[in-house]
């Protein structure tokens, strides 16, 4: 099994404050990972570093088999194998079609092929009727589905999800969860998801990474972490208590 992500002593600071200190982390391919932890534990920072959107201050990082040197060409090559959906996805000004086609256009895919792919992907997420709608007038749920389509169309090897369903109703969230499972099972896409919803994490996660104050406290199969957490801080978090 390939290991798309290897982190060694990766540190990120904002001014003097250390927000992430991941001493060792390996993320093998093909699974669904959920990153859990209290607010401010460094979950989004970890995700953004893995997605190569944030430069670490110290430590080494290996992504998709390459030691990251942050050169322009390497960043582009690696980023083009990954995609990301955030909590409140930014929609570019224009139609849903424009947004979903964006990534393929940047890869200079012929327009006819783009049209075919956009239509297929929008149908997959049940958004065909919104093809020509202004992306900024969509409801929260529709917006997230459009963002999922915009990422899926790229058939990424890795999909990052930063609380993708935290602002939407349960029915839309269930639909998005279904898509997450489908792409993981059908395409073998590695999914790394930050969520605050423990039920969702339990439903989806093959593996859980638990963060606290920037440190990786525990990592293991979902069943193990949820049922028999090894660390008291993980157990307290899962019980809904304040973690010290």
């Amino acid at each position: 099994m390939t290991i798309p992500f290897k982190l060694h002593n990766v540190v990120k600071r904002y001014q003097e404050r250390e927000v992430l200190n991941a001493d060792h982390l390996e993320i093998p391919a093909g699974k669904i990972y959920t990153v859990l932890g209290p607010n401010g534990s460094g979950k989004t920072t970890l995700l953004r570093i893995l997605a190569l959107l944030l430069v670490n201050d110290a430590g080494s990082l290996e992504v998709l088999g390459e030691k990251v040197n942050w050169s322009k060409n390497q960043l582009l090559k690696l980023r083009r194998q990954m995609a990301m959906v955030t909590q409140t996805s930014y929609m570019f000004q224009g139609t849903v079609y424009y947004n979903v086609a964006y990534g393929l256009r940047k890869r200079r895919v012929p327009e006819r092929e783009i049209r075919r792919q956009v239509e297929k992907t929008l149908e997959m997420v049940g958004m065909s009727a919104y093809r020509d709608a202004d992306a900024r007038t969509l409801s929260g749920g529709e917006r997230q589905k459009a963002a999922i389509a915009r990422a899926l169309i790229l058939k990424p090897q890795v999909l990052f999800l930063d609380e993708p369903t935290s602002n939407i109703d349960m029915a839309s969230a269930a639909e998005i969860e279904k898509h997450i499972l489908t792409i993981n099972q059908n395409w073998g896409t590695t999914i790394i998801m930050v969520t605050h919803n423990l039920f969702q994490a339990r439903r989806l996660a093959d593996e859980v990474i638990f963060l606290h104050e920037g440190h990786i406290i525990e990592k293991g199969p979902g069943s193990q972490i949820f049922d028999q957490p090894q660390d008291e801080r993980t157990a307290a978090f899962l019980r809904g208590e304040t973690v010290f």
Binding site: R48, A51, L53, K72, L76, R79, R80, M82, A83, M84, T86, S89, Y90, F92, Q93, G94, Y102, G103, K106, R107, D134, R136, T137, R150, A151, L154, F160
Partner: protein, 239 residues
């Protein structure tokens, strides 16, 4: 009041009659100001976007200078260009003084800081997640920069319309470097000054009306060119 009404009436007839000199003056005004606008946009938009997106020493001082130059007095711009182009000036050999080219240069001096400064502001108003979204979807740095400019286009259009308004309406700089020469460098604004001084108020008013009409039509054209931005109602709903 009577003079104004009479002037408007006569002015209206002058516009309809399409007097040869008025037509020539109008066309020259448009040529000079549109050329200046295009050149300023070619400099100001990339410079504005770059100075907003890049980190470099002296960035704040540069932007502050640009913002200051947005209020550059036209007469001062005209004087600087005059000194550059005069026979003994550094660019004197090109013999551009008292030609439409000199007027274009002076107007570029006035319009570029406006487009530069307002483009920088519009791009800086965007949030980090706009870049992140583009980059995460596989845009190269250059492609992402173009996306940022596209996302800031409402502000950039405002910059273009403001800059055009400034150059088409200014009189001091073109008067100094153009010389208001009949059939050569006379434009609408300098004609208005001249006609007013000669007491031909109706002609001056007619020229003023043409100036306003041109401004209206050019702004309409800029808005129509960016149909997509205005395709949807962007008005904030106030209840």
């Amino acid at each position: 009041m009577e003079t104004i009404l009479q002037g408007i009436k006569e002015g209206f007839y002058l516009v309809i009659q399409m007097d040869a000199e008025i037509v020539q003056v109008t066309i020259l005004s448009l040529q000079v100001s549109l050329t200046a606008l295009i050149l300023s946009a070619l400099i100001g938009i990339p410079a504005g976007a770059a100075s907003a997106l890049k980190k470099f020493p002296g960035k704040k001082i540069l932007l502050n200078t640009v913002y200051t130059l947005m209020g550059l007095p036209p007469v001062l711009a005209g004087l600087l260009v005059y000194l550059l182009l005069t026979y003994r000036g550094p660019l004197g050999q090109y013999e551009l003084l008292f030609t439409p080219s000199a007027m274009v240069i002076a107007q570029v001096f006035l319009a570029t800081p406006i487009i530069w400064g307002l483009t920088a502001r519009a791009v800086m108003a965007l949030e980090q997640n706009v870049y992140d979204t583009a980059a995460a979807l596989g845009a190269s740095r250059r492609q992402a920069a173009f996306t940022l400019i596209r996302e800031a286009r409402m502000g950039i259009i405002a910059a273009l319309t403001t800059a055009f308004g400034r150059v088409i309406a200014e009189v001091g700089a073109v008067m100094l470097v153009g010389g208001n020469i009949r059939w050569a460098t006379r434009v609408l604004t300098t004609s208005i000054v001249l006609e007013t001084r000669m007491g031909n108020f109706s002609t001056a008013l007619a020229l003023g009306m043409i100036l306003l009409l041109i401004s209206f039509l050019i702004n309409l054209l800029i808005i129509l060119l960016e149909k997509r931005t205005f395709r949807y109602d962007n008005t904030i709903q106030i209840t």
